[in-house]
């Protein structure tokens, strides 16, 4: 385990040349904010036909949704990496989003598709998030708070959890009738193009509340990144802090999965980019950078895809492709050191 962390550290050291880029973290943040804004404006305006009064609200909702999702994914990944004191794990590698899909499937399985579809989507969302918090708490808390748990065991258990959740959902999907399946399919494969506005409002409020919670915990987060023993020595109630963060992660993953479905590598991509360009350990700087990067990638990617290449819904596929490639490249870059 010690070796793993050492490896990650060497791997994630930025190339020597980057030191000449003498931007302070704050300047980097400003730059990123400007880029995010440009991406948003470009998305709203490029290639618009017809009346602005139609185009702006329509595209504005999408930009809004992508921002919420970007925040949720970036924050959940960075938080998760903080409590696992590791930079290559993400909630989705550990099976969190598969768990959410399983919860949705179970609800349809138990209630039946009709009942599921007629329930108020906001209420449904709240129930699903509550179930998610409960179950992820039960499953993952013991894994994280233990004293001498090895990292690889954690990862392995997480990956197998993911397979288990996915297969169990698959099994239940085979057992329900085709009508229910169609309803479930709609819920599972939500896309930016067809987002329920009420759900978006609830999600936004949820993410905003979690953000406030995170801000209050920022100093503790920095200490948690030192690893359990140091955190305990410095007087942090480790078990409690980890539980709180797992709750936040569960909520954020629910939001992003409910809005766009599972994305595996995206969080990994933005969190590691954030570590690379923000040369500081402080979460007060890393988190905003990760959020902005995530918004830039989502909205910018959508601009390129929709407006330049004329594809409609394949963004998640592209993100997985690029995210995975970038990650392997980061690993390879550690080569000479």
């Amino acid at each position: 385990m010690a070796e793993d962390i050492a490896t990650t550290r060497t791997l994630l050291r930025p190339p020597a040349g980057s030191r000449r880029l003498a931007l302070t973290p704050r300047q980097v943040l400003v730059l990123l904010a400007v880029l995010a804004l440009i991406a948003a404006v470009a998305y709203m305006t490029v290639g618009a036909k017809g009346s602005w009064s139609f185009v702006l609200p329509f595209r504005g909702t999408k930009v809004w949704a992508m921002t919420v999702v970007g925040c949720a994914i970036a924050i959940s990944t960075v938080l998760f990496q903080t409590i696992s004191a590791n930079r290559i794990l993400t909630p989705s590698i550990m099976g969190f989003d598969a768990l959410y899909a399983l919860i949705q499937t179970t609800l349809v399985f138990v209630l039946g598709g009709l009942a599921y579809a007629t329930v108020d989507p906001q209420l449904r969302f709240v129930v699903e998030v509550a179930a998610m918090v409960l179950f992820s708490g039960l499953l993952f808390r013991s894994l994280f708070s233990g004293a001498a748990k090895s990292l690889y065991l954690l990862v392995l258990v997480g990956i197998v959890f993911g397979v288990f959740f996915r297969s169990l959902s698959g099994l239940m999907q085979r057992l329900i009738n085709p009508n229910d399946f169609a309803i479930l399919q709609d819920a599972l494969f939500a896309r930016f193009s067809a987002i329920d506005p009420t759900l978006l409002v609830v999600s936004t409020i949820t993410v905003a509340l979690v953000c406030l919670w995170v801000v209050r915990m920022l100093p503790v987060l920095d200490v948690l990144a030192l690893g359990r023993e140091h955190a305990v020595n410095l007087g942090v109630d480790h078990k409690r802090a980890v539980s709180e963060i797992l709750v936040m992660v569960a909520i954020l993953v629910s939001v992003s999965t409910a809005l766009v479905g599972p994305v595996t590598f995206f969080g990994l991509l933005v969190s590691n980019l954030a570590y690379l360009i923000i040369r500081s350990h402080r979460n007060a700087l890393i988190l905003p950078a990760a959020i902005l990067l995530s918004v830039i990638c989502l909205i910018g990617g959508q601009v390129v895809l929709e407006r330049v290449f004329g594809f409609d819904t394949a963004l998640s596929i592209i993100i997985e492709f690029v995210g995975g490639l970038v990650f392997i490249a980061i690993l390879l870059k550690g080569k000479g050191r």
């Binding site: 010690a2 962390i5 050492a6 990650t8 550290r9 060497t10 994630l12 050291r13 990496q81 004191a85 590791n86 930079r87 004293a147 920022l218 100093p219 503790v220 920095d222 200490v223 990144a225 030192l226 690893g227 359990r228 023993e229 140091h230 305990v232 020595n233 410095l234 007087g235 942090v236 109630d237 480790h238 570590y275 040369r279 500081s280 350990h281």
Partner: protein, 252 residues
């Protein structure tokens, strides 16, 4: 005073620490010695609430370590274990500044900054303060962690094998710093040490553990005797007196 009563740690059937009752005197340096697997590090981890006990109680100045809020303890007792790896990218100054967290919860005051500078100076790290931890040698990094613990400014400082990774010069330097911390700042320092000569030369009190139990304890001069060392380490160890202090020789 640190008081341990009947402290045990069991992994399944195996008792790693077996009913240790012990009073570690306030002020001065206490070294815990013993062969591999004697339970020294485990005991230290339980005293410092890093590891739960299977049985027993530990109090620090009357505070039960398992019940007292962690942040209260963190202002009274600090612990540094071996093998410190940190995923985040930190400079030496960043790391040392974390030592003030129990006092200021992340908002550094002027007084905190003075503590930080003093601790960095104490460990002779002033020139390295801006360097990242992963750019340092093992020994330098070890000193940075010790600086963080000293910066925490607690009455009790517990260190698990602080001489690991240090060459002779720096090992001696580290022990001198501990001595100064005990003498000048009135700290209570508890060390787990492998080198019995370092223990003999610098500590006031020695606790010798074997098979999870305390076998002997007493002032350094009383523990550094051939018959006691032979009992602990199962080998012939000769003890010579040099300059009024006892030094062991165990090469054949």
């Amino acid at each position: 005073m640190i008081r341990a009563q009947n402290v045990s740690k069991a992994y399944g059937e195996a008792l790693v620490v077996d009913g240790v009752s012990l009073e570690l005197p306030a002020h001065g340096i206490t070294s815990i010695i013993g062969p591999n697997g004697a339970g020294k590090s485990t005991f230290l981890s339980m005293v410092s609430r890093l590891m739960p006990m299977s049985a027993g109680t530990v109090t620090v100045d009357g505070l039960d370590v398992t019940r007292t809020p962690s942040d209260v303890l963190a202002r009274r007792l600090s612990i540094l274990r071996q093998d410190n790896h940190i995923a985040a990218r930190l400079t030496v100054a960043d790391l040392v500044a974390f030592g003030r967290f129990p006092h200021s919860r992340g908002r550094l005051t002027v007084a905190d900054k003075e503590h930080i500078d003093r601790a960095i100076g104490y460990l002779d790290l002033t020139d390295l303060a801006g360097r990242f931890l992963d750019e340092l040698s093992g020994g330098q990094r070890q000193r940075a962690f010790v600086a963080m613990v000293l910066c925490q400014d607690t009455d009790y400082v517990l260190l698990d094998e602080p001489l690991n990774n240090l060459d002779m010069k720096h090992a001696m330097g580290m022990m001198k710093i501990m001595r100064r911390a005990a003498d000048e700042l009135g700290k209570t320092v508890v060390l787990v040490l492998h080198d019995i000569n370092f223990a003999s030369w610098y500590s006031d009190w020695i606790v010798a553990m074997k098979d999870g139990k305390v076998r002997h304890q007493g002032p350094a001069s009383q523990i550094m005797r051939p018959e006691i060392l032979a009992d602990i380490y199962d080998m012939d160890i000769k003890v010579h007196e040099i300059g009024g202090r006892r030094v062991s020789v165990f090469y054949e």
